[in-house]
Every structure is written in C-alpha cells, then in structure tokens.
Symmetry: C2
Subunit: 329 residues, 2 copies
Amino acid sequence: MGHGGGGAMSAELVEHIFLPAFGGRTAAALGDSAALSVGGARLAFSTDSFVVRPLFFPGGSIGDLAVNGTVNDLAMSGARAAYLSCGFILEEGVETALLGRVAQALGEAARAAGAEVVTGDTKVVESGHGDGVYINTSGIGLIPPGVDIRPQRAAPGDVVIVSGEIGLHGVAIMSVREGLEFGVEVRSDCAALGGLVEAMLAVTPDLHVLRDPTRGGLAASLNEIASAAGVGVLIQERAVPVPEQVANACAILGLDPMYVANEGKLVAFVPREHAEAVLAAMRAHPLGARAAVIGECVPDHPGMVVARTAFGGTRVVDLPLGEQLPRIC
Amino acid sequence: MGHGGGGAMSAELVEHIFLPAFGGRTAAALGDSAALSVGGARLAFSTDSFVVRPLFFPGGSIGDLAVNGTVNDLAMSGARAAYLSCGFILEEGVETALLGRVAQALGEAARAAGAEVVTGDTKVVESGHGDGVYINTSGIGLIPPGVDIRPQRAAPGDVVIVSGEIGLHGVAIMSVREGLEFGVEVRSDCAALGGLVEAMLAVTPDLHVLRDPTRGGLAASLNEIASAAGVGVLIQERAVPVPEQVANACAILGLDPMYVANEGKLVAFVPREHAEAVLAAMRAHPLGARAAVIGECVPDHPGMVVARTAFGGTRVVDLPLGEQLPRIC
C-alpha cells in the first residue's frame, strides 16, 4: 500500500521501475504535470487515477476529486485546465443511480473549473475485481507566455506561502471512513485552484514553484521541491495554519498535520520582491483567504526540510515513507 | 459486464448517464478521440483504460495494449501520437518483477510508436480490490492540416476497406484464457497504426472515416459509423479477410468473426476516386499487407449494416449488445 502513498516508496517505484522502462522525457516530468510544446503551443498535460473510499464524503466525492485533482496538477504549472478526459473502471453490479450521481458531480466540478470533458472510456470488471468506481482523468491546459513554474526553480531567498488551512481532506476522509467524530463535522477542502493561480500570476508571471500538497501532505511537497532544486527549506511551525479540528484529530490519532493530505490547497515558492503582493492577491481570492507565509528557501541543508518548532528548537521534516491513510484520492 | 463491452449497452451508458452529466462538447466527441483547438494547434486527445486478463498473452501484453490502444484512437483522427500519460492502479501484493515487465513492454511499445510517456500516476488498492494491474493511458497528437476524419463524414459511394485479417486479438485472448487450442497458436494482432495511417494520408488527406474495430469487432465499428453518418453500409461477406484459425475457433465456439475484437486493424471509408491508390499504399505497408475492399457506403437502409452472404442472400449485421468476451482490452 505504501507504494501508492505519494511518499518515499512511491518515489522508489518511479525511479526504479517506471523511469528506466519509459526513459527520456519522463525523467524531466516529475512535477505534477508535464510541459510540452505541441504545434507551437505550450501545453501542460497531466493524469491522475482516483480510488478514494468512500465515494462520497463530507465536502465532496470521487467525481469532484477526479476533476479537481487533475485541474490542480495543471494549475501547478500555471496552466488553466481546458480539456479533460475521463476513464471509468466500474465493478460489475455497481448501481447505475450511484454512477449517475458520480458522473453528475464530475460534470459539475468540470463546469465550475471551466474545463470541458471531451473524451472518455468505460471498462467493466467482474464483481470482486474492482471497488465500485475507479476514475482516471487526464487534462490539457495552456501555459501562458513567460510562465515557467517547476520544482527545480526554487531558489534561496524565495518566500514559502501556503494558500490556507491544511489537513482538512485527509481528516474528513478518515473521520467518515473510521466512523470517528471530532465534535464538528470536518469537511474536505476539495476545490479547483485554477482561478487562485490566475490571480497570483496577474501579480507576476515569475512564480518559481507551485505544488498542491495531496498525498503525503505539505511535508511530501516541500521535500520533493527541496530535493528537485537542491535547496533547503526552513519552515516556522507556528506559522502553518492548522484548523483546530485537524489539530484535535491529529492529536487523538497520533498524526502530524504536515503529513495529512489536502485537495484544495497549494504551496508557492515566490521571489522575495513579489511575495507581499502575491500574498495580498491570494488573500483577496476566496480560496486563498487564509493564505500565510510559512517559511523560506535557504542555501543551508540542501535537499532537506527543517521546521523551527514553537519552542525554538528545530526538527527535520522527513519525506514520509507512504501515506498515513491509504486511498484518500 | 455488457456495459463495458463497447456495444449497445455501452452506448446506452454514455447516452443516458455520461452525456447528460458532462454536457456540451462531450456529445461531439463520440469518435475514438476528440479533436481540439489549443493555442492555434489542432490536437487529437483520447483516453482508454485497460483491464485485460491475462496480463500477458500470445502476441502482446497489457503494456502493449495500453500504448497501441490509445495511439490507434489518435490515429483514427489522422493524428500521430506524440505524448502519452500513464496511470497505474495496482493491487496490493502485485510482484514488482511483474510490474517491471509490464512497464518495460509499455515503454518499448511507446518507442515503437514514436510516442513519449511524459506524465504518470500510480495508485495502490488493497488486495482483493483490484486485479493485479489496471492501466489508463491518454494521448495527445497533432492533426495535420486539411485532415478531417470522423464517423459523420461517411458518404454514399465511399469504399469500405479493412487493413487486414480480423478476429486475431479476441481469439488469442480467448484461447489462452480458456485453455483452448486450435491447432496452431493464435497470436494477437496488437500493433500501432500511426505509420499505416500516415501512408494512407500521403495518398490523400481526404479520408472520410477511420476506425479501429476493437471491442464489438468490425460489426460494432460499422454500425457506429452508419448510425453517426445516417448512411447504409453494404458488406460483401466473402471479401472480409478471416484467417483460418479464427474461422475454426469461431465455428467451434459459435461466434461470428465480425464481432470479435482486433487491436491492430482499421476500417476506412475512402472516397471512391482515391480508393485504389489508398488500397495500394496500405498493401505496401507491413501492417496493411492483407488490406481488402469489403464493401461500400450506400444511400439505402440508413443507419444499418447489411452483409451479402456467400450464398447471395443478405443479412443485417446488428450492433452487438455487449462484448462476446469480457476484458479483452
């Protein structure tokens, strides 16, 4: 299960099995999406499969996730999603009414994100060989001129900004799946981030890195960036916005919010001279209202993420091995 | 299971569930791929999930299928596949050595087709909730200027050409899965058709329709074209190239070769004035050596496919309800 968790074990699979087999360009495409040149246009292209359980959860469904996950991967290279594909793998016997609700949610999420579902495929496997509904979406978006956003561009001096409170998606899934209650219902933050990224790009096309911290949480994203760019990342633990119900749930379950998945948040590495204006633009957008500076990119400890704790000490924030909770997306 | 078979039940699912949910553009994209305009370029975009059992079979594997299936969908709009995405859904416990062999086959098939795998994703589901390896691929290709190939363009007078012998993939899967033997080993015809289509387009950009008869076989493809264009299709049954081992297997199993899946064949609707030259170009290509004219597009019986039998009678070739054999791709 760890190999699907977006952490060190996933990276190992990619490095030792997929890259040698696929070769060449794949190696350059370790960001959330690949940047391509096709017929003179600069495109972002991304794919994601969704196997979340349960199919519906507070704040969303597999249909919402399938759209927002791919839309957000494209947004992380500065592209606004234009076209989506959609492949269903259905388990024999799944109710057509349930499938209809999933398709409806998917269609609505696509319309909300301004993307069109233009091609699709359906396969059916025997009862007991699937799990209701799996969905793959792939997406194509246009990268605006002058925009070059990728993990390798993180540079010492960059300000690290997170777009809002972390950990909501993971805790929402966990609470509904395990039947846990934490006082108030925790709702997934599942959302499409294309509009927020556009607002940030309106300030400057020179954003260095964007990443949506899904599987493996903020810790996995920061580690991937530090490692890709060969820079250090220093986080002020107190500055990371953790909602009370996420903090409570994590305390009870022995989890670290830094490792819990999000589905409607991004982390940005922004050149210092633009940081204040970008932060203001984010806060003016509904999906960035709680945006906060959480740290900076440093020349020290390249490849490592270090957090300054509330007590003044420091700790290393490791790349997680797997995901704390399987099948959250 | 029938809803995944590419026949009437699949069409029903698309018409009653997916189209109403996704709306707009999806409706126009009922070909094998969608034709899009992005940043001034004309792109074909297609997706397919692969759930074939067994993962390896005579003549190919799920890795080959995953590449060739999507490459061929793009080729059916005249596009040469440029970029592929690849999403794996793995079952917990699948051997990494097996996964490595699948990835290797996929990589080799992509290189053979001249396409690059540029982005990917891996999810893992618990043991008993998947089936070893499922793969989704999506692909992007550039449509050459002046090319407009789609089912709606079939017109009375068009000559119907098939690129070679039919039924090999379906019979190969069936024989290995069911442990049947038909004298000689039947190998899948799984192949990438981009090069063959380029050779045809070199004769004329004005090909009307191309289709790869996978699930539901030649019968399903011809019915979809007849229905999309509102034309009749008249086939000379004797002209359809059916290899002896496919004919034998079908006779034993009570199947009709017209309904058996192919993975390396195409059917073309070509304006009469170009038919001879296109056929010659096909025969000069290794994947079209056994190409044959099998019939014509007629103004009679719109939406219907009729076959003239070897005995001089005629019979209606219906759209199959589902697939004769589940999970062949």
